[in-house]
Structure formats: C-alpha cells, structure tokens
Symmetry: C2
Subunit: 384 residues, 2 copies
C-alpha cells in the first residue's frame, strides 16, 4: 500500500443541519458581534430572506437585503452588491440562495475592505484574507457552494466565467435547513440535484481522489440515489429535501480538496456562450462523460452504481454501465433536458465548444481519462 | 422516511493530511500572526516537538515547550502548563501528543486570559470563548482529540475525571502527519487504535446516530480493519500509520455531534480509580458491550462486520456476531490485554465499578440498549 497523496482541507467551522436550524442564525450573528448584516440573495427567492432578517431585526441588528437577478452572476452584479455592503456599513455577510447568491456573498465578504479587487484575485490562492464573517444558507441542493473555497462570476466583457479559489472563501457558518428548499421548482430541484451528483461522481473518479473524500462522495451519491426522485415528485417532503441538502453539502466538501473533472470542463462553454444554467449543463453531459471515462476505472464506476442502489454483479464493466443507465433513468424521471438539441444547441456550435472546453485544463487534468479536442467533440455529438 | 434529528457540527477549519504536512505548521502560525508559541506535549515524546519548533524558531518565532508526564493529565498539570503559557506570553498554542497533551493544550488556549477557571467550565457549553489560536498535532492514532470539542482532566482531589465540552475547544488547525506516529510503541498503537475503533462503533450504533456521522464512522471502521494490524506489526509502515491517523480523526469528528456510549461509560471507573489508560480500558470492554448491545440493532452491528472486511451473509444476527469475533481476533493479534484480571482488577472491585459507571448517564443515555447497574456488573464479569 502506498501512502495517500497530501490533502489540505478547509472546512466550514460551524454547520447546522435540520429543519428549523436557520433559527440559530441570529444567535450566531450576535455571538460574532454582528450589528449590521448584509443578506445577499436572488430576486426569485428574496422572500425567503425573512427567515433570516426577522429574527435578526428583532434582536436589534440592522439588516439590508441585496437581491441579484435570476441566473448566473456577473462582475457588475458583484460590484453592485459590494457597494450595498459598504453603504450599509456591513460587519457580517449572509449568502442566501443557490450558488449565484452564495458566490457573490463570499466575494463581498472577502473584498469588502477594498484592499483587493475581483480582478486581483481571479485564480488560485491570490486572496489575501477575508475581513467580514460569512454565513451561507443554501436554498437549492446542488452547488454545495456553502462548503467550497470557490466563487465564480461571469465577465460579460469577454463572455468568460472567472473563478476565485481560496480557503478564505469557505464560510464560517452554514445552515442546511430543508424548509428553505421546499419551494424550489421541480426542474430546479432536478437539475441542481444532478449537479450535486456530478460533484460527487467527479470527485470519486478523480485522478487525485483521496480515501477520505471518497467516503464523502459515496455517501452523497447514496443520498441522491435514494432521495432525488422523491424531492422532485413531492416538493414538500422535508426528509427528502434534507437528504438532498446533506448530499449537496458533501459534494461541496469534495470540491475544495479534489474538485471536478471533464463534465464541468465540457459544461463551461454551455454556460459562457449559451447561458445554460450550470446544473442543466452538468446533468446533460454527465452520462456521456461517464461512458467515455468508465473503461479507465470500471471498479470506481461500479462502486457508484452500488451507491446508487443498483444490485451489483461483481462484473465491474457491466456494473459500471448499469450505474450510467440508472443516472439516465433518474434524469428522465426527473424531467431533465437530456440533449443539447433540447436547449437549442445545434451541430454547428460543437467544434467551437470543444475548442473552448480544451482551455479548462485545470479541471481536465483531474479526469481519469485524457480528453483530447476530438474526444470532447465526440462527447458533445453523443449528447446532441 | 422521517427527517433526521438536528445536528450541529463544529469542525476544524484547516486540516492538513499526509507525510511531511507538519512542515506547513510554521507557515500557518506566521499567517496567524504568531510570535510566541507554547507547545504542550508529553515527556515520553517531547523530542518530536522539534518537528514543530525548529521551523518556527528558524522563522524567528519564540517557542517554549511544556512537557507533561506520561499518563492522563490532572488539573495540577493543566495549571502548570497554563502558568508556562503566561510566563512565555504565548499568543498561539500547539498541542502535540496523544489525547493527554492535546486536551491540556486546548484548555490552556481557552483559559489563558484568566477570565474563567477550569472549575468554571466543567460541563457542557460553559466556556465563554477561546482567546488564543490553537493547533493540534496527534502523535497517536486513537483519541482523535484534534477534532473534538472535548477536554478531560483528572481531579485528583476526588479521583474523578472532569470533562469540558464546548465548540471553542475544537482547534483551528490539525496536522495528521504519519511520520510523527511511527515511533509509537506497539502496545500504544494497538490500544489507541482500538480506542479509535470504539469511537466509530459507539457513534454508528448510537441512539442519536445521524446519516452524515454514520458515513464517517463506517469509513473509520473500514480503515482500522484494514490497517491496525499492519501498523502494530510494521511500525515504520507510513501508509498504515496514515490510514490509522485518518480513522482516528474520523472517530474524533463523530464525538462532537454524536459522542460515545456504554463502552466509554463503563471504562470511566477503570481510569478514575485504577488509572488504566483510556485506550486499554475501552479496548478491553468493547467486545463485551457489543455482545450486550447487538440484539437491539443487529443490522447496525452487521454493517460494522462488513466494514471490518468480514464477508456478510445477510443474516444480521450472525453477521453481527462475526464482527465481534473479528474485533476479538484483532485485539488478540495486536497483543492487547483482554481481561480485567490481566490488569489487576479482581471480582471484588466490580460492584463499586458498576455503581460508578451508572453515574455516567450523559454517555449511557446514548447507548442503543438500556444499561442497568446489574447489566453493568454482568458486562464487567464477562470481561473479568
């Protein structure tokens, strides 16, 4: 047995899990000395912010809610939120929403003091620190951003997504309260759920996998296999919602130390040029990348099938295929778009997308099988 | 499916794992602004402190090493370490050793400012905060104290162990460097390894078990089943040492949110009156408490057998028995004392021990099966 590769974990210090746990947020803010809180959220779910602001205001804390538009956040949105934080004199930031809102909140908390700009910190490890305490409250079970050292904005000037990776972006507090996810529409539940599944699968099959992270990833896969369909079909099922939040958080915990691979790399061009939601792009590509990868590590893909609840035969290649078929059935029963053509992407667009995917080498290098531009094109064609 | 019970996690913010990761400690101290570091360790392993102090001193940080005696720490030891911290003007505390050294370090960091005494904070949630940043470096793979909100000292005046439980006791940094554990004697490797196994088993079979913690516990059990014998038989096997450190850390991660049960409750009197090392006491009682418990939740005990690498049959009761037998073989092959009579405890002592165990209701209430005083006596008799 060889030693494991070195691993650095940066974890959320305080994670509260369970129905009603959001009620503890005001107490935590008070203990942290917060007097002026900025809540960063998204317009479609802004009414959920009351779950946070009502108890805070009752405790005499001044709250301001900044609600961004639906969809992926841009640098302009971030700068607007940053201005709101300064205007409010915020001493504590809460991100409430999906990945978009949480990513903006993370950057606002980190860059509020003005010593660095967003442009200064794009890349890995360039953020000098974070002055404001930060809590994240996911209202989707998907991105797991409340557990990650990553924040991504779209740079509209060059139609590229730009990421900041730093341990300072990992929040101090996370609240996984299923009640805040029950109003999520079925199609968002489905796409974000498959996004969380993708995080777990790409961590588990990663070239830089680690036994500790493997156990988180497999547990996430197990929870999603057992609960995603219920969460889609019975939106008010708090138990299924809670299991999905836990799975999403576990997926997020995998992203810092191991990160994702070819599914995410190939999804980038769908987001950047075609503005396809991150979860939809991932869910659409996942089975095709799995089919491409699984010959390289059939035992890993067979273990995924087992975690998804498939009866395994011991024939790893056959079991691996069964896992992919299970995910395709899952996508189908959850009503997810399954073809690029469903979302308006035609054959002519594919070569440029394949070329763009090749630029995401920081993720492609994690993939268990090497992906050439010709491979990327074939994967897109399979998904057409 | 019902919702899960509410769970509050308090996690170590930065965990570094792998051979040589201790080299990052000086950089982390510098980033935290440390200028005067107190290293709390134990005399038998004090030479390992150089792995921490050499790089710190090379970076101009003033270090003082406080080395306590071998064995479980007392309030007097803690007060001596606290005086050393004050004399040194420490602005950062590092605990390096087994649970004894780490527990003292945790309390020194928390109580250094003098606003509370140890007596003020015995119990749950009474600690007001922690002024000094804190890193823990385990040199045994056992207690997992580097991941827990718990510190325990012996009060020699009344021969009782007294525990402090507070999220403020969870360190800011943990370094799991297998090189620091290779000099651990075989009998310590064995006893502390079974202690870690006990943490995982008592969390997994706990009345307050939670799916997230279950996955940590099962991964810890799996790692111990696959690596403890190798770590005992080949002390220099860094891969086995690393796997054991990871398992011990996972066991520690279970202690905050779920904690232990009857094994630990029944072990208390062995430590308090007979000064039996914590790991030895637990390892001796573990199989007997498992036999007592397993009829209550045979599926859970069968899953433990599976995680230990036993082939399971699907007959839960039989599989559960197989798991206990595997642990008994493991103890035997690791040379662990397996009988109370081996460590000088005779039949006459048992009734008083059973009565003392009954006072540890905070752990007994976690046990999957109710334990009466008569039950405790029968368990001790089985272990005689």
């Amino acid at each position: 047995m060889t030693t494991m590769r070195a691993l650095d974990l940066c974890l959320v210090r305080t994670v509260r899990i369970g129905h009603g746990c959001i009620d503890d947020c005001a107490r935590d803010c008070a203990a942290a000395g917060a007097q002026r809180v900025l809540v960063v959220t998204s317009a479609p779910i802004a009414e959920l912010a009351a779950a946070v602001t009502n108890p805070l205001e009752a405790a005499g804390v001044a709250c301001r809610v900044w609600a961004g538009p639906d969809g992926e956040p841009t640098i302009a949105h971030f700068e607007d939120a940053l201005a709101a934080a300064r205007e409010h004199g915020a001493d504590f930031v809460i991100g409430l929403g999906g990945g978009s809102a949480m990513d903006v909140a993370k950057l606002v908390a980190a860059l509020a003091d003005g010593s660095q700009s967003f442009g200064d910190v794009v890349g890995i490890g360039l953020l000098a620190g974070r002055r404001l305490p930060l809590a994240c409250v996911p209202t989707t079970a998907g991105t797991g951003s409340e557990a990650t050292p990553i924040a991504i904005l779209e740079d509209q000037a060059d139609q590229l997504k730009k990421g900041v990776v730093s341990p300072h972006l990992v929040p101090d507090f996370a609240y996984l309260d299923p009640q805040l996810t029950v109003t999520m529409p079925a199609r968002v539940t489905a796409a974000t759920g498959i996004d969380a599944l993708t995080h777990c699968i790409e961590a588990y099959t990663n070239r830089f996998a680690h036994p500790l992270v493997d156990s988180w990833a497999l547990e996430g896969i197990r929870l999603i296999g057992a609960n995603l369909e219920t969460a889609v079909q019975e939106p008010g099922n708090v138990a299924a919602r809670e299991a999905m939040l836990l799975a999403s958080h576990l997926g997020g915990m995998c992203l810092g130390p191991v990160n994702t691979a070819a599914v995410h790399a190939l999804a980038y061009p769908l987001g950047g040029e075609f503005h396809v939601a991150h979860g939809v792009a991932n869910s659409l590509l996942l089975p095709h990348v799995m089919r491409f990868n699984m010959e390289t590590a059939p035992e890993r893909y067979a273990a995924i099938a087992g975690a998804l609840g498939e009866r395994t035969s011991g024939d790893a290649a056959a079991d691996a295929r069964r896992g992919v078929e299970r995910i395709e059935r899952l996508s189908e029963s959850c009503g997810i778009d399954r073809r690029l053509s469903d979302i308006g992407i035609g054959h002519n667009a594919l070569p440029k997308m394949a070329a763009a995917a090749m630029t995401v080498q920081r993720l492609l290098r994690n993939n268990p099988r090497e992906v050439t531009e010709a491979d990327a094109l074939r994967i897109y064609e399979a998904a057409l």
